[in-house]
């Protein structure tokens, strides 16, 4: 760490950190990407040269200081370089979600007035071309993968490698200009602008300064003792603040290596090959892996299956305690070691977690069983709570104080206060500068003293000092009888069942709650196969009576557990439907980070909700769907409405006696 502190002087921008890394860790790997079946590698000194060539090329193309450069594509080293190169020439990089449809891109590109767009491939290029008439400031597009681009009109279109070649050719004329621009960068210059997906309304451009990014990266890296030797797999959307902090902020601060998968579909194989030491994933990745393991174990031989379940039961008993450094008996320890050789070790290798030191999950609540499963294997999986406006970190769980139901203590240098309504506010070096071109929103979110309202309701647990999140503050409501309505609480309990992918609870202002449920096609499909249940489509499987029966038993079990909480017993699910389609970001029902947009779902499926409340047994509906290429179609379905068992609120009675 001493090395880093000496370097900390003057390290006030990404290009400055890059130069330090190129000097100090010249031959250490900075980026790897699997291409043509082989991991291609770039060292820090090679990276510095590539970025310099690109930056010179951008100046050559006419990028000015203060311009916005949009970056769209899957995680690739070239696109990460683009972000740093954009900053080096004094421009502001704006990464966009690659799976956004053209209209969504039109809004963001128009809002920031991007003059330049760097895209990964033809698919993204086509989207930008489709909307370019709406973009008044758009001038040039640079593409990475030349495939299929030959026939395009190249007056405004440039190949990435050509831009770099031109940059190298113009080195002598432009290097002075580049150095001059780089020297101007300091802690207050804009590092990146990220658009928040926004569960309501239009996306907002969050401006983060170098101070926000570098301070947050430094604090979090020190908190988890990250070193130059870490390896991470970068597969989460580049437009998401988390990826920016892990793959750029922390990577440049520590000088560790960023590995990019070959394609989206190969992520699991690549994960195993790289064996990251530091890993970040939303709960659904961990859930998906666990479901896969369980499905595959059912196909294993009897001996293996027995061994697996036997040692897993033992891990469940003592694994978590061993990881937390709590006292565990000698025999139990020995058995755990044996289990590690026979089961846990090979399993972790298969999953790609053989070398993991620190793993994080965030974004959504993770099921306690899933969380404990990974921890019991000896994987140091932790939770953190954060948001774009905070440059990720608000609270984190320190090693040894990890639990499924809290999100940890305030991160280094973060102050937290909770207002009278239970809403969480924070102030930190990572607190964002402003929403771009939106002073009203900035003012309503961040007050004069720098406190930011998170919009989440929560409280500090007595004794441990850990923060617990209840729900989005605006989603917490009241039922007709005045009791508390916290949909997320119930939805999360439902989603912890592998069969249930997504759940949406309704009941604000009503006398009882009803729910929409999405089945998980992998888990339920596998179950159907084993039970010889034939189905032709998602819709058919979702409506199968036996599936409905299974889901009903899950809902009833959740009701039972909800009834035990005196505050929330009113949130039990009285009736539900299993939806005929998956809620999808393309249809606007979810954000790109897969959070349900409650209001939109409520409006869109108004007819189903009415049927849930008026007592009908079936409901026919027509739903509009958007295909990946932006075309629209519709699906018709008749859904069966199911009544669930509801438990009396036991605790209320006890209290009344």
């Amino acid at each position: 760490m001493a090395q880093m502190q000496t370097g900390a002087q003057g390290m006030q921008s990404l290009p400055a950190l890059l130069q330090r890394n190129a000097a100090q860790f010249a031959n250490a790997p900075a980026y790897r990407e699997k291409e043509f079946g082989i991991w291609q590698c770039w060292t820090w000194s090679e990276t510095a040269k590539e970025i310099e060539a690109l930056a010179l090329g951008l100046i050559n193309l006419g990028v000015k200081e203060g311009d916005f450069v949009a970056i769209i594509g899957r995680n690739r080293p070239y696109l990460y370089w683009s972000m740093v190169a954009a900053q080096a020439v004094g421009a502001v990089p704006v990464p966009l979600y690659q799976d956004a449809v053209a209209e969504e891109m039109a809004y963001v590109l128009g809002h920031c007035g991007a003059r330049f767009v760097i895209v990964g491939d033809q698919e993204q290029a086509d989207k930008v071309i489709e909307i370019q008439d709406q973009l008044h400031q758009f001038e040039h597009m640079i593409y990475l993968d030349p495939r299929g681009m030959r026939k395009y009109d190249h007056t405004q279109l440039h190949q990435f490698s050509h831009i770099q070649d031109q940059g190298r050719a113009a080195h002598d004329e432009l290097i002075g200009e580049l150095n001059k621009r780089q020297a101007k960068l300091d802690y207050d210059s804009t590092c990146v602008m990220l658009y928040t997906s926004g569960t309501t309304g239009k996306p907002k451009g969050v401006v983060l300064s170098n101070r926000n990014v570098i301070q947050s990266a430094k604090n979090s890296a020190e908190f988890d003792h990250l070193t130059q030797g870490e390896n991470i797999l970068s597969y989460l959307p580049m437009a998401w603040v988390g990826d920016f902090i892990f793959s750029i902020g922390q990577a440049y601060w520590c000088g560790f290596c960023v590995n990019c998968p070959e394609s989206q579909d190969t992520m699991m194989t690549d994960l195993r090959e790289i064996g990251p030491t530091y890993f970040f994933a939303p709960p659904r990745v961990f859930e998906g892996q666990l479901t896969n393991v369980m499905i595959r174990m059912e196909d294993a031989g009897a001996l293996k299956r027995k061994m697996f379940h036997h040692f897993l039961a033992h891990a469940k008993k003592v694994g978590g305690n061993i990881l937390d450094g709590k006292p565990v008996g000698l025999m139990d320890r020995l058995k755990y070691t044996l289990g590690n050789v026979l089961v846990y070790g090979p399993l972790k290798d298969t999953l790609g977690y053989g070398r993991i030191r620190v793993g994080y999950t965030a974004g959504e609540a993770i099921g306690p069983e899933i969380f404990d499963f990974y921890r019991s294997l000896g994987i140091n999986l932790k939770q953190l709570y954060g948001q774009t406006e905070a440059t990720v970190f608000i609270t984190v769980q320190p090693d040894g104080e990890v639990r499924a139901d809290t999100v940890g203590v305030p991160a280094p240098e973060v102050e937290i206060k909770i207002d009278d309504n239970g809403e969480i506010h924070y102030r930190s070096p990572g607190t964002f500068v402003e929403y771009f071109n939106n002073p009203e929103s900035t003012a309503s979110t961040k007050d004069a003293e720098g406190w930011v309202a998170t919009g989440d309701a929560g409280f500090f647990e007595e004794g441990s000092g850990h923060l617990r999140i209840i729900d989005r503050a605006k989603d917490v409501g009241k039922m007709a009888d005045g009791s508390m309505f916290a949909p997320k609480y119930v939805e999360n309990k439902l989603k912890f069942y592998p069969d249930i992918l997504e759940a949406v609870l309704f009941g604000n202002g009503r006398d009882r709650c009803v729910a929409f449920i999405n089945i998980d096609l992998t888990a339920v499909g596998n179950w159907a196969e084993r039970n010889n249940i034939a189905y032709a489509s998602y819709q058919e499987l979702a409506g199968h009576p036996k599936v409905l029966e299974t889901i009903r038993s899950h809902v009833s079990a959740v009701n039972k557990s909800v009834a035990e909480d005196p505050m929330l017993s009113g949130c039990q699910v009285h009736r539900f439907v299993v939806l005929h389609k998956e809620l999808d970001a393309d249809d606007g029902e979810m954000t790109r980070t897969r959070k349900v947009r409650r209001r939109i779902v409520e409006e869109k499926f108004d007819d189903i909700i009415t049927a849930l409340y008026d007592g009908s047994e079936k409901v026919s509906t027509v739903t509009e769907v958007t295909y990946e290429d932006g075309r629209k179609g519709s699906i018709k379905a008749t859904l069966t409405i199911v009544d669930a068992e509801v438990k009396p609120a036991a605790v209320h009675k006890v209290a009344a006696e």
């Binding site: 043509f36 079946g37 194989t269």
Partner: protein
């Protein structure tokens, strides 16, 4: 009619070269059945040439004549201007012709990678013994060929199934693997026998994109048979239409679409 060495410009602005393969008055009989009757057409360098027609029109027989698998009783096949003698399949492959099959013909138990590698067999010079030992030359040779194969795997976006046995793949992906194997031979002329048969709309769109990209990126001349008229019209530069073993139309998709004989063959004719 164009001269054999003359080039033409397609509707989307690509320049197509001279004649690669010419069929001259081909007649093919199986015993008393006439499968192909006196058909002539040519395939030009860099174009996508489609052969269409209703069931039993003789399309697959025609493709087998092009590939050299059937030898017609009458007529000549000229390849690069020279008359082609009867050949064995490997000789055809060495001439730079590769094909895919209507009913997928892959090695089911082998991985995708190994299947695609078989497409490189013509480029492997080392013997069985040295390949088994995998030393020196044989190793270098495999590395070289693997690189070509990996580029094709990347091109067709099948990285995620590289190590998966073909038997475990769904139909649409198997079709893509077969295309990959054909491409691995780096053909000058690629023959596709119903590349989209049995596919859903999305798979068809994917396959169409790959066919166009192959043609564009590698400059491969492509001859394909297809049932789906929509796909054919969007994809191909020129179309031959067959019915009952006879050629009833030949030209650009637009010309063919407005040809009365073609309309009659596809939509039927009223006899009153």
């Amino acid at each position: 009619m164009l001269d054999n060495s003359e080039s033409y410009v397609t509707e989307d602005g690509r320049t197509i070269g001279g004649v690669v393969m010419e069929m001259k008055n081909i007649t093919l009989r199986f015993g008393g059945v006439v499968a192909i009757q006196d058909i002539s057409f040519d395939i030009r360098e860099g174009e996508i040439r489609a052969i269409i027609g209703p069931n039993g029109a003789g399309k697959s027989s025609m493709l087998n004549v092009i590939s050299g698998f059937y030898v017609p009783q009458e007529g000549e096949v000229l390849f690069h201007g020279k008359k082609r003698p009867p050949m064995r399949p490997y000789e055809v492959a060495r001439q730079g012709i590769a094909r895919t099959f209507q009913n997928i013909a892959l090695f089911e138990g082998m991985s995708v990678l190994d299947n695609v590698m078989t497409g490189r067999l013509n480029y492997m010079k080392t013997g069985l013994f040295s390949q088994a030992l995998w030393k020196g030359k044989a190793e270098a040779e495999e590395t070289e060929n693997r690189e070509v194969v990996e580029r094709i795997i990347d091109f067709l976006e099948i990285q995620h199934i590289r190590k998966t046995p073909v038997a475990r793949l769904p139909y649409g992906l198997k079709k893509r693997v077969e295309l990959a194997r054909a491409l691995a031979a780096e053909p000058k002329l690629l023959l596709l026998d119903e590349p989209m048969a049995g596919m859903n709309v999305e798979e068809k769109e994917d396959m169409s994109r790959f066919i166009l990209d192959v043609n564009d990126e590698f400059g491969t001349t492509i001859a394909l048979i297809e049932h789906d008229m929509g796909v054919v019209m969007d994809l191909s530069d020129r179309v031959v239409v067959m019915d009952y073993g006879k050629k009833i139309g030949d030209g650009t998709p637009n010309e063919v679409r407005n040809n009365q004989d073609v309309i009659d063959a596809y939509l039927g004719v009223s006899h009153d």
